[in-house]
Symmetry: C2
Amino acid sequence: MKKYKVIFQPSGRRGEIEEGKTILEAAQALGVDIEALCGGKKVCGKCKVRIEEGFFEKDNIQSGMEHLSPLTEDEEKHIKPEDGPGIRLACAAEIHGDLKVFVPERSRAGKQVVRKAAKELSIKLDPAVKKYNVELPEPSLHDLTTGDMERVLKFLEEDYGLKGVSFDYEALKDLQDALRKGEWKITVSVWMDKEIVKVEPGFVEPSYGLAVDIGTTTVVGYLCDMNTGKVINTESMMNPQVPYGEDVMSRITYAMTNPDGLEKMQRAIIDGLNEIIERVSADLRTNGKNGGSAIVDMTVVFNTAMHHIFLGFNPEYIGRSPFIPAVQHSLNLKARDLGLKINPGSYVHILPIEAGFVGADNVGVLIAEEPYNQDEIVLIIDIGTNGELLLGNRERICSTSCATGPAFEGAQIKFGMRAAPGAIEKVKIDPETKECMYKVIGKADWHTHLQEVNAKGICGSGIIDAVAEMFKAGIIDRSGKFNMDLETPRVRRGTDGKPEYVLAWADETSIGTDITITQADVRALQLAKGALYAGAKLMMKKMGIEKLDRVVLAGAFGSYIDRESALTLGMFPDCDIEKVYAVGNAAGDGARMALLNRGKRTEADEKARFVEFMEIAVEPEFEKEFMMAMHIPHMKDKFPNLKALLEKKKVPVTVKG
Amino acid sequence: MKKYKVIFQPSGRRGEIEEGKTILEAAQALGVDIEALCGGKKVCGKCKVRIEEGFFEKDNIQSGMEHLSPLTEDEEKHIKPEDGPGIRLACAAEIHGDLKVFVPERSRAGKQVVRKAAKELSIKLDPAVKKYNVELPEPSLHDLTTGDMERVLKFLEEDYGLKGVSFDYEALKDLQDALRKGEWKITVSVWMDKEIVKVEPGFVEPSYGLAVDIGTTTVVGYLCDMNTGKVINTESMMNPQVPYGEDVMSRITYAMTNPDGLEKMQRAIIDGLNEIIERVSADLRTNGKNGGSAIVDMTVVFNTAMHHIFLGFNPEYIGRSPFIPAVQHSLNLKARDLGLKINPGSYVHILPIEAGFVGADNVGVLIAEEPYNQDEIVLIIDIGTNGELLLGNRERICSTSCATGPAFEGAQIKFGMRAAPGAIEKVKIDPETKECMYKVIGKADWHTHLQEVNAKGICGSGIIDAVAEMFKAGIIDRSGKFNMDLETPRVRRGTDGKPEYVLAWADETSIGTDITITQADVRALQLAKGALYAGAKLMMKKMGIEKLDRVVLAGAFGSYIDRESALTLGMFPDCDIEKVYAVGNAAGDGARMALLNRGKRTEADEKARFVEFMEIAVEPEFEKEFMMAMHIPHMKDKFPNLKALLEKKKVPVTVKG
């Protein structure tokens, strides 16, 4: 295969790349970060690069557009005149000659900020795996019981009252040498009072567990000290399945249309988890053993599609009516059967799923928030690439899922980006002047355009803020339409002739262009929030609920959402703002609870069956509700709480109340 | 690495062999069979080959002794002047030039005759794995239970009363597609009413199990139809661990002295079993799946050392006092955890071990013979590379093991060989003329030296016959010493000056030399039988047993042993010859019983603990008993039954009675 020299600027990384590879593949091979939100599927348009033209003496290469495959239709759609000359999508342009490629700041991916950080949980420690010290007398010819295994089991029965315990095969293989190395003192890790999953020489106290939340876009692992319950390390990464499909449906399609598609995606997530295991446990490395082997228990939550792909189950049937999952109940699978590099004898506890796409992650939310123990009617919104809703109280709880699209995660937004340094995460707009101030991730303080700046895009919480603030400042009306009669240079028509609001001027940014919220961005957000609202509304109708007592915002960036902006936008029906809570990654909290307390596992299985699933999106009424819910905050519904709040704050916009 | 041309005659096989490899390795690489009873350890002396000298124009090679490493001490011990010139041990001579090697008939290994053939068992069919047909209605949106797994489990509970059944992960992965391929009809294989280990689309009746007996020297697999209990295929092979040590102790030593010794031997036996699985199940191959996947259950028996090595347990501690095994109880291990290529979700049932070297194979003998259900005092002798004894009745049963050495298997006997075509397996000597007749494996009839012949050696049952007949004919006395005053050319002094008896004259054989029983051969047999007798005697003493009601001869070639010869030799204390039974491979029978009837598994665990183990060889009395037991039939003990038998048959030899 012919190879060509490729040089990336400004990093200066270079290497030989095979003919026909894309610039994105070349960048990945050479360790150059290029933003590719859609995973190289030519839809997000985030990976624009500039091809340098000419002969570069220093590098001794001739670079130019003629060294690439012809411009594709996808590229024509995304590349605008204002992008300047020499622009291609890195994911689309194939290499057929030497190249010098410039990666603009805007196209550079940063390290994602962990927005799934763990909060402290107060829960009784009663883990599934417990450690027991065993001390045997030295064996003699006069013992009636002589087998190493039999003597350990006898001790467990006599000293701890543990009856009928068995040995995992891998643990059993370690037993003989551990007994002798520990001079007849060992520590056994017993799973559910039933099975010894690990044997260590001597008396060992530390015990570790891993709770994992596999989101469609982000994967997080929380390493917990099982003696204190505290999270001692957190690691996250982009879900390595993203290149196979940005959302749940496209991954299901990938599995259905590629003979080894399921296997590839399963391999990708297992490899990804092993990387998280390695990183999170690096400090636990002892005696040449990898740190992961110190992890004796693990719990996992995910939506139904991620669940199926992770387990190697065909996800085809959950994607279409009657939406049949392979399994609903929780599963305990050997780590070694899954290829996960924790202690090989240990079980991985897979939390149960509810129904449809409402999976183990929502069960995690459920056992973390416990609506089934409350009298108040609560709506829990878990915001991710898919939105999942729980509604009810101790009497009855319903769930549903809504395809919100990836707008909340910054995709399909012109300057959208993940929550990484440089992302605008909070926005305030002065209703009088229409001027704005914003907060950038990686900066300690709020910045206006007068201060030092380095914004390069806007992430989910920033978009929600921006659109809500634009509404409150009268820049857009409740249908989302721009008011073009305002006397401010920030509201203008873009090069495509469509209205936009300038959030940051070019000189405040690190990308050299104005960062704007476009009409299309506003529409994307309206679609996303409309789906959530319509889902909640239909559930309320079906359950005969008039009014929400409480709203819980959960999810990857749940705790970063400004609750007033969320209420203003109408992401959910009206509610007292004091009763809107942002709880962060509740799915991950649930995974940790199930790790720390085995009773929570039983509770999860019971309550997952208690929850009634509603397939909302197929309801004929959905379309109508969805259309009305696209308005800000809603076309018809009353928002007495919001109305009072806006009036109190003297916001010059009226909503129905 | 330099390579040389090597040509083997008479087969004509040739190839290029790396410098420094032995002739035996070259033969193995080129598919030339050379007998190597000791597995290439330079102790059996069976692999003699002749190096052709000179330049061979046709092959264009120069061959000769100078192309080999110098003669070793081991070779000097084995190579006798009568072997003629140019003789080397194939296992010792290393190649350093082109070679033409002649393999004499005597050194050629034949395909071993399966002497572990299965007899019919009459046992109630109640296997651990049972198949159930499941038929579900097509799923609809209105089902309360929607998961594929949950619906199958519900059906099993409602239609078959099977509660709390779980799914093996590998079986679960097959469920979705099986349900749809079978149009909502499937067959599940349920292990112990507890766990689904296999899922097949449609209603499937055939069900297969494999019972395996891993001997120190020979491995046999019996493929059973689980619906009829019949053995439908049997495959055997030499234990692939033989190259690492001929007997149990040498393999333990190998594991202790080589860092990866245990792993290598475990790999060897697993690979060997996979070959047996492939051969035995070749006809079960369907839809591109290997036949082994049709096997849903498996049982294994072996001695304690083979047990430990097979399972990857360190065998060091069972080899020395206080003889601590890793495990005594039976184990159920996933086939996939062991790397065995049967249905991956299935369990392999490892029968329990007793103590010391008395392993699961003897438990197999125990549950096949059921001495614990009998009033008669029975002595069960399981003859293999190790001899194992069971003694007792329903009141009390003891066991022990005796290092008999490999004489019974033809090793350490001048013309000894395995039970392969060309082996003399039965011998009769005329007490008057001292002439003999013998039966050769692979020939239909008895042959005398006047008939067509093709003997090339003598196997275990033949050696026992020959020595017993020599005693009865007065050729040897009860101390094993030759009577050199007989007027027969068959009794003579060999080239080494030591007495020997000619069993077959050179012109009757296919090896061109007389086949003899030497003084050393007689001694080797006396040592082996003396060990068995002394073991039995000491157990009787300790248990206060005066007299045996019954003797059972079991083992690889148990059913081929002539019981009169065995009694005459004094392989066991005196017993009515009508009450001596040869039962064949009782260990294998026990493995099959445990495969066909799950109650037998419980029985095995209970009875293995009921049996009292006696470490006989370390008793101070053992040495004395052993010396006396080397006599034929014994130095002092009375043999009233044998005496009567010999008198009735007018055998001109008197024994104490």
